[in-house]
Symmetry: C2
Subunit: 329 residues, 2 copies
Amino acid sequence: MVTIKDIAQIANVSVSTVSKVLNGKGRVSEKKRREILKIARDLKYTPNYYARRMSSRIRVHTIGLIVPDITNPFFAKLARGVQRVCGEDVLVILMDSFRDLEREEKLIRKLRFFGVDGIIIGNSRVSDDLVKEVSQFLPVVVFDKNYEYKNVVSIVLDNFHGAYIATKHLIDKGYRNIVHIGGTHELYVSLQREEGYKAAMKDHGLSPRVYPTGYDELKGYKMMKRILKAENVDGVFCMNDLVAIGAIRAIKERGLKIPDHIGVVGFDNDEELCETVSPSLSSVHQPVEEMGEAAAKSLVDMISSRIRVRKYVFSPRLVVRESSSGKKG
Amino acid sequence: MVTIKDIAQIANVSVSTVSKVLNGKGRVSEKKRREILKIARDLKYTPNYYARRMSSRIRVHTIGLIVPDITNPFFAKLARGVQRVCGEDVLVILMDSFRDLEREEKLIRKLRFFGVDGIIIGNSRVSDDLVKEVSQFLPVVVFDKNYEYKNVVSIVLDNFHGAYIATKHLIDKGYRNIVHIGGTHELYVSLQREEGYKAAMKDHGLSPRVYPTGYDELKGYKMMKRILKAENVDGVFCMNDLVAIGAIRAIKERGLKIPDHIGVVGFDNDEELCETVSPSLSSVHQPVEEMGEAAAKSLVDMISSRIRVRKYVFSPRLVVRESSSGKKG
DNA sequence: TTCTTTTGAGACAACGTTTTCGCAATATGC
DNA sequence: GCATATTGCGAAAACGTTGTCTCAAAAGAA
């Protein structure tokens, strides 16, 4: 590798002079400046980041982003948002923990070991202890959860509101017997969505019925099948799109029409999924990319210890498609 | 930050001794060893990666992975594969170029600037010049393209074979008037898939008909519409799943039944997509994760200058679903 | 006891930069 | 022509490690 020394030797100057020229600092004569620049170019010199980082105040920030599953469009979008704000001076190290919490812990330590300047944790299931520990050393951004630790910023979606507008939309479209297929409450968001649903139902004089289950297509399918057997339903608000897709399958199998007999609304608005399924699925959209952007920005703010916001709250909006376009008959 | 010096001071020893203990090298008395280890733990010492990397032979490798769109399941899976092989001693820096070739170039330079030890380029549209330039400094892995440069490894899928078995499958299922909705040939793979299709058709005494278009759902939809107007078709082999989804939409709109009247097969086997669309879509599966794994492994091999393979060829397999289950009537 | 070997530990250079300081040489002001 | 200000450049320390080399002390062999 060609170093600053090599350049200095060829140009017959000291390393300090070369460094000054390369960084545009200090005073160097125009003549030498040109000469040194030319040599550097000819030699295809690239500064050694590691050395540079050692000797000076860092000017380039590295931030680590850990997601439980990069294959999940939600996290892919998050990653996009984070990367979008990162110009020349920020490097994002993206890591996939494969939904394995133990691996996630390891990765976080690995990031620390590799000397990142801050960490964004995409998984809301991460343990509080870990967040506490890491935030002692580095600024941290987390999602969907509030922390009171210094050095931690929370980015949350107003899940309550999202669930509320989704439910209200079904009511407005004429559906009345609306159930909610929700999650078990180990995910904080599932609780919030449930509450939003309940509030909307109550505000309109309807009685809420919640069916907790898991978060994937199969869980949604099975639960919907059970519900159809058990009671009279004409509307379903699901805690996410996957569950909704499962529910749709169950409803179709039963010979019922969507949206004529039953209206369905999901959550997350995974476009690919929502547009592909038939009928296309209405869903609550999270501004995921924007949330990722906010995460990166606030992390950089913390790193350079500028103003610090403790919490960002984003508002969801409803994307209406065929699956909830109104009851008939 | 706590450094080795701090530990040395507290333990009343020299930095060299601390370093030896921490690295398990050299001879240190059991008593001091314990003492130093304890202090390091209490102080939550983390070695400075940058300093370490400067002074010694590197033991930890960083590899950069650039993908055009992390939101695309294909590249997300690739990223998974790459990350799967990376244990303690390898760090993956994943970057999304947002389908912007200029940005991609910048990112590659950025990676070089950040001192990665090798680069995996996920985008087969990358310019040859860039690959050439980068490979002068770093080992590079590319996909779907062959290079003769030293320091470059190619990982390719046998697209010809994939297209061949997909087409043959349609023929075996009783379809005869099979068309191919392909890509424009700026993507090398599109050419290969087209050739595979043609070969299968000719081998069975059928005449191939190729309709080149783009790579997304809308392009597939429009082209299929045109085809249905223009000629008598009972089978479609599409260059990817997105195009196939578009074709399915056009076919359904026309009032034709899949697979009864027309059989459809896609390429890439994006499970989420293929299983969600109705009828579910048969598709040629690429072992993407395995390819990512191979990429990472061979890159690490090159970095540590062990044996070097110039090219890896992977075989696709067909996943049969409803959309091609046989012609009726 | 005396000589040799082993053990434990510190001093110091090196890695490639940046940055501060000092000092000549030149330019400026009177 | 002298004092002062400015400019151009290099020497050297520092960043946190690792690794080599040296050396004293302890242990072993005679």
